[in-house]
C-alpha cells in the first residue's frame, strides 16, 4: 500500500521542524515534555530567611556534635527528652525555629550551652522599682554627690593651704628666715 501524499508531507514538515529545533527544544519534545520545577521559588524563600535559618543551623550543628561526642544516637536524645524522633530529626536538619524553652531543655539533656547570653545578662539586669525607691536612690546619689564635692573642695583648700605654707617656707629658707639645721 502506497503512503498517502499527506502522510509524506506531514513527515517532511515534521522532519523540517525537527531540523530547526535546537537541542534544548529537541530534548523537551523527545523526552515527552519537561516538568515544572519549583526550585527558584524555594531558593528565593531560603535566601529571604537566611539569617534566622543560619542560627537554627548553628544550633543544629552543636546538637549533632554533642550527640556524637557522647556516643549517643538521635533516638537516645529523643528518649531522654521525651520527644519523638521526628522532632529531633527536624532539629538537627537546621530547619527548626527554636523557642528558648526548647533550647533550654536540649541544653540540660546534653549538658551543653547552645546559646551563650552571659554578656547580655549584665545589660538586662534592670529591675522595676517603686517611686519611693526611686526617690531614695536619687537622694542618696545627690547626697553622695554633695559629699564628694564638699570633700573635694576641702581637699582643694587643704592643698592650697599646703602650697601656700610650702611657698612661705621656701621663701623663709630663701631669705634665711629659717635655719634648717640650726
Amino acid at each position: 500500500m502506497k503512503p498517502k501524499i499527506m502522510d509524506i508531507l506531514n513527515l517532511k514538515i515534521k522532519n523540517k521542524i525537527m531540523d530547526t529545533l535546537n537541542n534544548y527544544e529537541l530534548l523537551r519534545q523527545n523526552a515527552g515534555g519537561f516538568k515544572k520545577s519549583n526550585a527558584l521559588a524555594r531558593f528565593k524563600e531560603a535566601n529571604q530567611h537566611n539569617d534566622s535559618i543560619r542560627k537554627s543551623q548553628l544550633i543544629a550543628l552543636r546538637i549533632l556534635r554533642a550527640i556524637r561526642k557522647k556516643g549517643w544516637s538521635q533516638k537516645q536524645l529523643s528518649d531522654n527528652m521525651g520527644v519523638s524522633p521526628q522532632v529531633v530529626s527536624k532539629w538537627v536538619k537546621g530547619k527548626e525555629n527554636f523557642t528558648l524553652e526548647t533550647i533550654e531543655k536540649i541544653e540540660k539533656a546534653l549538658a551543653i550551652t547552645l546559646i551563650d547570653i552571659a554578656d547580655e545578662k549584665k545589660s538586662v539586669s534592670a529591675k522595676v522599682i517603686t517611686r519611693s525607691e526611686a526617690y531614695n536612690t536619687v537622694m542618696t546619689y545627690a547626697t553622695t554627690t554633695v559629699f564628694v564635692a564638699a570633700a573635694a573642695a576641702t581637699t582643694a583648700r587643704q592643698d592650697h593651704a599646703y602650697t601656700r605654707l610650702s611657698v612661705r617656707k621656701s621663701n623663709h629658707y630663701r631669705y634665711g628666715l629659717i635655719r634648717k639645721f640650726a
Binding site: 537541542n23 523537551r28 519537561f34 516538568k35 526550585a39 527558584l40 531558593f43 543560619r54 550543628l61
Partner: protein, 190 residues
C-alpha cells in the same frame, strides 16, 4: 541510576534530570543536601581525613558552614541569572555560572584555581551538566568535591557515571550534537 524525567529550572535555559532513586530533580536535590546540617555533619565526619589534608586544613564546623555559605551564593547567582538572563548584556549561564572544562576532567583534573584566586578560595560545591547549546544546559547531578581527581572519591566518581549515562540517554533521544557532553562544571566563585 535510572532516569525518571526532566524538570525545567529556568525557562528555555536550564533543565535537570530526575532520577528514580532521588526524591527531587538532580539540581534541587543537591541544594536540599547542601542545606541539610545533619547530612553535612555526617558527610564531613566520614571525610575528616580529607579535610585535614594540606589542601584544605579545615575544621569540620568550618567545612559545614563553608558549604552552607557557598550554597547560598549559588542560589543568589542562579536567581540573578533567571531574573536577568534574558536582558541583553546581563549575566547568562554561559561563562558566569557554568564553565566548560577541559576534556581531561573525566580522567583527571581538578582544574587549578588560577582563575579563582588563592587556594583558600577553592570551593567545595560542583554541579555537573551537559551543555546542549548556547546558554542551554541539562544538569546531571552535583557533589561536594574534596579530592583533586573526580575518580578519587566515590561521590564524584558517581557523578562521572551519571554524566556518561545522561549522554547516552540524550543520544537515544536523537540529540547527537550537544556541544559539551559531560564537561561542564558549575563552580562557585567566591
Amino acid at each position: 541510576m535510572k532516569i525518571d524525567c526532566i524538570f525545567e529550572i529556568i525557562e528555555n535555559s536550564l533543565a535537570a534530570v530526575k532520577y528514580v532513586e532521588e526524591p527531587s530533580d538532580s539540581f534541587e536535590y543537591c541544594f536540599e543536601l547542601w542545606d541539610d546540617v545533619e547530612y553535612l555533619e555526617k558527610y564531613f565526619e566520614q571525610n575528616k581525613a580529607l579535610l585535614a589534608t594540606d589542601f584544605w586544613r579545615m575544621d569540620l564546623n568550618d567545612a559545614v558552614f563553608k558549604v552552607l555559605n557557598e550554597a547560598k551564593k549559588f542560589r543568589e547567582d542562579i536567581l540573578y541569572c533567571a531574573e536577568h538572563g534574558k536582558t541583553k548584556g546581563a549575566p547568562r549561564l554561559d561563562n558566569t555560572i557554568f564553565r566548560s572544562l577541559h576534556r581531561d576532567v573525566l580522567s583527571n583534573i581538578r582544574i587549578p584555581s588560577k582563575a579563582y584566586g588563592s587556594e583558600e578560595e577553592n570551593s567545595f560545591l560542583r554541579i555537573y551538566a551537559i551543555r546542549l547549546g548556547p546558554n542551554e544546559y541539562v544538569v546531571t547531578g552535583g557533589a561536594i568535591k574534596l579530592t583533586k581527581e573526580m575518580q578519587a572519591h566515590e561521590d564524584t566518581a558517581l557523578e562521572l557515571l551519571k554524566l556518561e549515562q545522561v549522554s547516552v540517554y540524550l543520544r537515544g533521544l536523537g540529540i547527537n550534537e550537544a556541544e559539551d557532553y559531560g564537561y561542564i562544571e558549575f563552580e562557585n566563585k567566591e
